[in-house]
Symmetry: C2
Subunit: 482 residues, 2 copies
């Protein structure tokens, strides 16, 4: 089919232009009524009318939109050196060494820097396949591990389509969770899921195609924060390792302190991965992702090159992100604010029959929206109405997504405060009430919250009134504007 | 195998650190003796001792390392908005519209922004396969189309290894060139190459696996700048289109004005691609790549998402790159300086028996280093000695690479001047003489060139004394420092 008239296309503006030129098949939040963003600052973003929204889906802006310390390091590096592919730079080796300090000793000694999480997972699979000299990969579903041609076979959005044929060497096993999925109604979900894993490993051995690797999100973020029991993860990863396969954790969405306490989700559970994949949050918006592994596994691949992977600007900004997380105590605050938020949201379950479950750890939470708590039947319709109400009436961004379209994902920047948590709980409460009362139309004007919804946690308030940590260069004031 | 002691690893510095932590299997220039880079400015880079090198491999820093106008736009955007995945931004739609103005009308109306060239080629293949509802891809070899798991089957470095098995749906046909490759000794290379293409297309049709797409670098940059005759490209692409396949051009390495005259290499030849893949140079170091196609082809894919693709900082910097190329007349200067350089280098063929061929267009040139002009036998050894001599004695970076390791690749930033061209020709002349005289050890001190090697082209000198074009924000001085 011929191209549309280029000059007509070039005359398009704003949302129309992006929908027709850039986004015809790209995933957009609030797809029925997309939103134009002009500015981001801390945990807030601003639309083209200047309205402020509390950004609960801004997990890429990990330490806050345009954090001044991160921006400062990027700006400084932009004047010194932006690309050095094929050469060695101090800024890259400093960053990789710093990143290694975030993982427990004894696990990894090699860091491969790439751009996107997709590139990182794709590379991790190749490493596992080359190192084991095997091909077959087991992965948990529902999950999304990225958007390359290979990773389509690992993506629930593709797998569920009958006319899509995943690679025959990719094997899907259901996530072990007590609320949703294949084992939700079983009295013995862990035993059942482990039996499934054991059978699959044996079947692959019999077929002379033994398992090369087990790819999992430690907490199944993309599938709706379905968390497997610790005993399942420990035993399932041991089964794979005993069979000679490698364990690859994709911690792109939930990593780098989002869960609180630790830097990496796998540290919350009792197992050791062979390959850690991280990304998305590493550069606070600047493209930066990484594969952490051992030299022996890394060197199993013939050769690798990446034009922008480990570029000086991404490394400088990535370094600032790691420093900000440490210096601003974000591993602690993710736990504190996350617990506060989860307990507040969980308290709404008794009050609202459309709220089925609140799942997650730290600042990675999901509201599972249902037709009724008894049936647990997912309601995409109510989830979408809630997400538009929260956006247009309460100025909070919580998009609906997930395998059934019924999950509201809460993954805010880590500078999310207790005040933000209170406002979010209160607004979800009001929006659920709106839905119960049949309020469906969305309101475009700013809605002022007058009531104070009191839940415990005020002791953290002083701690939360954060100011950005200082830069290495003291002559430059690193402060949030305004 | 266990990880090495993390604390020992973290204590490593500089080149040792990068080799052991980051680069164990990553491609490095001058791999036997890597170089640490501290700074880049225009067409020069500086090592950790402060020595200045003329950067002839800096094709990522397309308009010059740290171009002040590009850096300014990046710095400005870093303070406003760095990430808006899933939302619409003006900076993204402005950039995609501007990028569409660089292609001839009637070809493309849709721009998909990703990070790396690898991501872009990978996406382009999926689009071709989905649109045609076929799987099989024909590609020219030797070539490197990127570094994803899928693209390994399209990469000569992998294909040549006997223990690597490319996907059965990837079909390699030799490049049509009169100096190197399968048809070099044929009196009728075009006819032979077209017959090969025709046979392959028929064979695929007979097997009921008809061709989905033909993936080619318009000028075969990664394979050593092997350029196919216009009549071959016109006829071969027509054969594929007549068989219902799409033509995908990978112009990641040679695109965006590097060849001079036009923005895109395919415009130098007489054919029309269905999908244009570009990257590498688009952001002047900032990760930015793109797929240009029609809406019908783009929408054949179920869904796509990319966390960083089209991020505001990359788009702002990409926009500045397009403006700089226009405002600083780089399409003209690539032609002028490129012609000057090529004629100077070509004049050395009569003088030096190790220089077999000088190939390329504009500022994408390759020196084919041979044992003797009569045998045309590639000499990796002499090419490497030349590249180290040029680096260490003449302070010019021209790495050796290519399928036989015997090509010296010249792809400098487009601000490369006639003075630079003169110095490069003179230095290649001297280095070839050094090799003939048995000079093998490299000299670490700066070598001063005293002679002036005169070749035509001085008329462009005034034009070449460039100053950076101004920014949109007139209050900010956009000038090269120092």
């Amino acid at each position: 089919m011929a191209a549309r008239n280029r000059d007509d296309i070039i005359r398009l503006n704003g949302i129309e232009a992006e929908r027709k030129i850039t986004l015809p098949m790209c995933k957009t939040h609030f797809a029925k009524q997309p939103m134009k963003v002009q500015k981001g600052m801390q945990q807030y973003i601003y639309d083209d009318a200047g309205s402020e929204y509390l950004d609960c889906c801004g997990n890429i802006a990990h330490v806050g939109h345009c954090h001044p310390r991160v921006a400062h390091m990027g700006k400084k590096q932009l004047e010194i050196l932006c690309t050095a592919q094929g050469f060695v730079t101090d800024v890259q080796s400093s960053y990789t060494k710093k990143l290694l300090t975030t993982v427990p000793p004894g696990l990894f000694d090699t860091v491969l820097l790439v751009n996107s999480g997709s590139e990182a997972v794709d590379l991790a699979l190749r490493l596992a396949q080359n190192y084991t000299k095997r091909k077959d990969i087991i992965c948990n579903q529902p999950s999304v591990f990225g958007h390359s041609s290979t990773l389509a076979s690992f993506n629930y959005r593709y797998i569920k389509h009958t006319d899509f044929k995943p690679y025959s060497w990719v094997h899907h096993i259901p996530i072990c969770n007590s609320y949703r999925g294949a084992y939700a109604d079983s009295p013995t979900p862990v035993e059942d899921a482990l039996a499934h894993m054991k059978d699959l490993i044996l079947e692959l051995e019999k077929k002379k195609t033994p398992v090369a690797g087990y790819l999992l999100e430690t907490i199944n973020t993309s599938g709706g924060n379905l968390i497997s029991p610790t005993e399942y993860l420990a035993a399932a990863t041991k089964l794979v390792k005993d069979a000679g396969g490698l364990v690859i954790v994709d911690e792109v969405l939930a990593g780098l302190g989002r869960l609180g306490m630790h830097w990496w989700p796998f540290q919350h559970f009792n197992f050791k991965p062979d390959i850690l994949v991280c990304g998305r949050s590493l550069g606070n918006g600047q493209p930066l992702s990484a594969v952490l592994t051992t030299q022996a596994i890394a060197c199993s691949i013939l050769e690798y090159a990446n034009s922008y992977g480990g570029n000086p600007v991404s490394c400088a900004m990535g370094m600032a992100v790691l420093e900000v997380i440490s210096d601003e105590g974000m591993l602690l605050s993710s736990t504190a604010v996350g617990n506060h938020l989860k307990s507040g949201l969980t308290s709404l379950i008794d009050k609202h029959h459309n709220l089925g479950d609140v799942r997650g750890i730290g600042l990675s939470l999901v509201l599972d929206i249902v037709e009724a708590q008894t049936s647990k039947k997912p309601s995409k319709d109510i989830a979408e109405r809630l997400s538009y109400l929260l956006r247009d009436k309460y100025k909070i961004l919580v998009p609906a997504d997930g395998p059934d379209g019924n999950c509201l994902f809460i993954n805010p920047p880590l500078c999310f405060s207790l005040d933000n948590s209170r406002k979010l709980v209160q607004s979800v409460d009001l929006a659920l009430t709106d839905v119960e009362n049949g309020v469906t139309e969305t309101v475009k004007s700013l809605y002022e919250l007058n009531e104070e919804f009191q839940i415990p946690g005020d002791i953290f308030d002083g701690f939360m009134k954060r100011r950005p940590s200082s830069c290495d260069d003291d002559s430059v004031a690193c402060k949030w504007p305004g």
